[in-house]
Symmetry: C2
Subunit: 121 residues, 2 copies
């Protein structure tokens, strides 16, 4: 059982770029699609996904239980009826952690390979 879960997670790595960005954004709190895009824009202007890519990814990830529709919009924003809010699931958080570890290892390899300066901290 736990084995099955682990295997599924391992097999679906590496995560798609959009998906990791989405999970990373939602790890900080509930957000709606357009808001996630702006969040990514703020963090890395070079990797901003297309809106089509975004909404399709959201649908797919709900399907895969990596995220779920937030029951109701967060307090402050009672206004805009159009927005669909999402939250990260436990499975999503596990996936994001696994992928983050992968990226970290890659980064470490790059540093060892002399492609990055010693301590960028």
């Amino acid at each position: 059982m736990g084995m099955d879960r682990d295997r599924r997670e391992r097999e679906s790595l590496p995560l798609r770029r959009v998906e990791f960005h989405i999970l990373l954004s939602l790890a900080a709190g509930e957000r709606h699609g357009y808001g996630i895009i702006q969040d990514i824009e703020a963090r890395d202007e070079k990797a901003v996904p297309d809106v089509g890519t975004m909404y399709r990814a959201l649908a797919r990830m709900v399907e895969n239980r990596l995220i779920e529709a937030a029951a109701r919009r967060p307090a402050a924003d009672a206004g805009d009826e159009r927005r669909n809010y999402y939250r990260i699931t436990d499975a999503g958080r596990r996936m994001a952690r696994a992928e983050a570890r992968r990226l970290e290892a890659l980064t470490r390899a790059a540093r060892i390979g002399g492609l990055l300066a010693k301590a960028t901290k």
Copy 2:
């Protein structure tokens, strides 16, 4: 001129996954296609590219001057005539550095977002 080069590099990021893996592997020394695959396997079992993807990527990257065919095989291995050895070019190293910085920033974001432990070194 320098500007043009910088712009081209920035626009073609992020690198394809295979390509970064190849550059990362070749940054450590000259290698042949099959050897690169084994190198990647050793480093990250989850992201091992298909052989088809690999050989096509190598051809493309030679075309784009990110790598080049090594004139002749490295000393110790005078044996196997089948092997095609490659080495990283300056342009390739620049691209790899840029991509490594991108991944490093992503990793940092993941750490800030609580998806990674504090100091992994």
